[in-house]
Symmetry: C2
Subunit: 433 residues, 2 copies
Amino acid sequence: MRIIKLDTKSKKDILENLLKRSPNNYDSYQESVNTILNDVKVKKDEALFAYTKKFDGAELNQNNILVTEDEISEAYANVDASLIDVVRKAIVNIVEYHEKQRQYSWFNSKPDGSILGQKVTPLSSVGVYVPGGKAAYPSSVLMNVIPAKVAGVERIAMVTPPGKDGKVNSATLVAAKEAGVTEIYKVGGAQAIAALAYGTESIKKVDKIVGPGNIYVALAKKSVYGHVSIDSIAGPSEILVLADETANPRYVAADLLSQAEHDELASAILVTTSEEIANKVSDEVEQFVEELSRKEILRKSLDNYGYILLVENIEEAIDVANEIASEHLEIVTKDPFNIMTKIKNAGAIFLGEYSSEPLGDYFAGPNHVLPTNGTAKFFSPLSVDDFIKKSSIISFSREALEPIHRDIIKFANAERLTAHANSIAVRFEEKNK
Amino acid sequence: MRIIKLDTKSKKDILENLLKRSPNNYDSYQESVNTILNDVKVKKDEALFAYTKKFDGAELNQNNILVTEDEISEAYANVDASLIDVVRKAIVNIVEYHEKQRQYSWFNSKPDGSILGQKVTPLSSVGVYVPGGKAAYPSSVLMNVIPAKVAGVERIAMVTPPGKDGKVNSATLVAAKEAGVTEIYKVGGAQAIAALAYGTESIKKVDKIVGPGNIYVALAKKSVYGHVSIDSIAGPSEILVLADETANPRYVAADLLSQAEHDELASAILVTTSEEIANKVSDEVEQFVEELSRKEILRKSLDNYGYILLVENIEEAIDVANEIASEHLEIVTKDPFNIMTKIKNAGAIFLGEYSSEPLGDYFAGPNHVLPTNGTAKFFSPLSVDDFIKKSSIISFSREALEPIHRDIIKFANAERLTAHANSIAVRFEEKNK
């Protein structure tokens, strides 16, 4: 891995290079995405089936689009029983963590008869996109479905593209069943997003769409935003390890590679105060790359978006971590909790040398759907918050309204909203001028 | 107002008619919005000033774009002192309510040395859009700025279009100062959104943009979503009053009109079980319209999007209220709290005959920025939640990782992510196969 002594110029170049990976830079696909969205909106199932034939090579109709109980049983038979055990153990941890994110309705009353509050309600229905293709990511199914389930969402509709044979991945089906998905449809791509957003004869419209996908899926989600809600738009994965001289270079190298292997756009960055650690990590990375099965991807993502950044002191390391706002941040220093207090921007923060990033991806409990590409400055991990919404509650008595009614009338008239003023005035038999 | 006996057909037609008002139906403006966004992204201040000249007729430069302390003092002199008093009283209530929305970091530890938690951090910077034009809405300034302030956002940059004389509305400036805005720029339209999203020489980039605007502003916000965060996309205002035979028809009529006066796309709907109330409210509405200053707007919005819907029973009323998912919902029945428990979708819920909607717009404390046009099914009122973000916290000891490390390795290998598996294996001197 290249080792760079960080200065203003190199920092600017690196930040710009990382942002190149943003899904916001692919507007050229927007037109074809819009065509698909509009076709499915207008022609519904007909268009949905036609696009599935075109892109996935599978023949769908209203009788086979929904995964059946038989297909799910078949999937269980196909999957290694010990993997199902691991999935179940992971679910226990993920549920336990997300239960702690629950929010509650509250109210506050005063003796004058006024009540103000906030009511929390789960969304009624959610669509979960799960990518297809060669690799299956059952962990992604768990992470997207469980927070919805914990929030109390009644209808959870999953969509995932079928193979040419019209089947979907067995591990995906098992994870969906274990996590509590209520319906699974064999469709993918922008056409699946359109079906969830607008509804077709076979797929009822949902309130919100979550889950990662390729650039077509990402742009389609952005397009339907407002018509339905969406989670944040997923970009390529990242890790930033912030290490001092106490770090174990072998562990750091392995953790950098665990993100770099995702795809060629993934980014792995070490920020360290120690030149010795920088050199050792670089050596360990070279060794591991040779041994690992995803060598080609690792090499490309490291060449394009991998950096070892040498900084003068820990404050500089914290600053650059906050500027990059990495999806995953590992703090491997003498006193990681102290440094954590100064971290403003990160999706998930891993503290100490045994908190390896894949622990969070699969098992510890927190969600692995995290803000990428600098969006940790304003987005949060996927959570129960994403599957609830709130309503304000206002209940005033005459006694509570009376002493403030002239103030409200004054404010409304200042905004020239005379019917607003009138609605207060009429309750006190006053004419609004 | 037209009175309609609700049935499946009329309900479908009404829902479709209401959705016509959605900002999602104005994609034809997207191209001109994209041109503006891109110009400002590339040419920065130069483009920002040129568009301000073109659309607002004001001559801006780097020396006069920022509102000065002198201009703010001048604004205070221009505004009625008793209005400033009312604004200050409103701020006390709005702050008190939003303080209750604060969320706190938490963690959970186990004796094996594992810690899981969630850290809450305010956004660093926020942009607030405030519309210009003839009417000024100081209440909108308060409602957008105060939750950011309560959340702990350090930098709150407001943008608002200038008049031809290069000045901005005095009441807007006073409200901004009172609410705690840190910078005010005299720019509006899509060009202001671009400046906030990408940054220019004069305006530093922000993390999130909130605040209502015209269709250009709404589309610009949607376009920059992902690059920065935005609040939900504002549509035209609405009220739905759910009333039984105990309601006061004069109050109901006045409240319907308080929303209908906003603009020609505003919608006012009464859903009632009582034919007598339906007829009386219709009569009262006619009388009020003749007396009120915004008669033309009232007439048009009532003709296009005003309805009195007669239903068989209260359950049917609740169902249609949930389907319409109104921005404002007033429940004026014998037992409003009982009905409230069955309401799934509404921005703000007003209970009982003294809880008139303008009480919530100006004074009670809850936010008046609410989900419109059916989006209360998945969006929430603007709140402190909009100005914080969360990071997961994961800290495991060797003792905590050891008993689960084989499970994680198994899960990672099942997803063919061998470098993920390796990062766990290496900590236990195991080779990942």
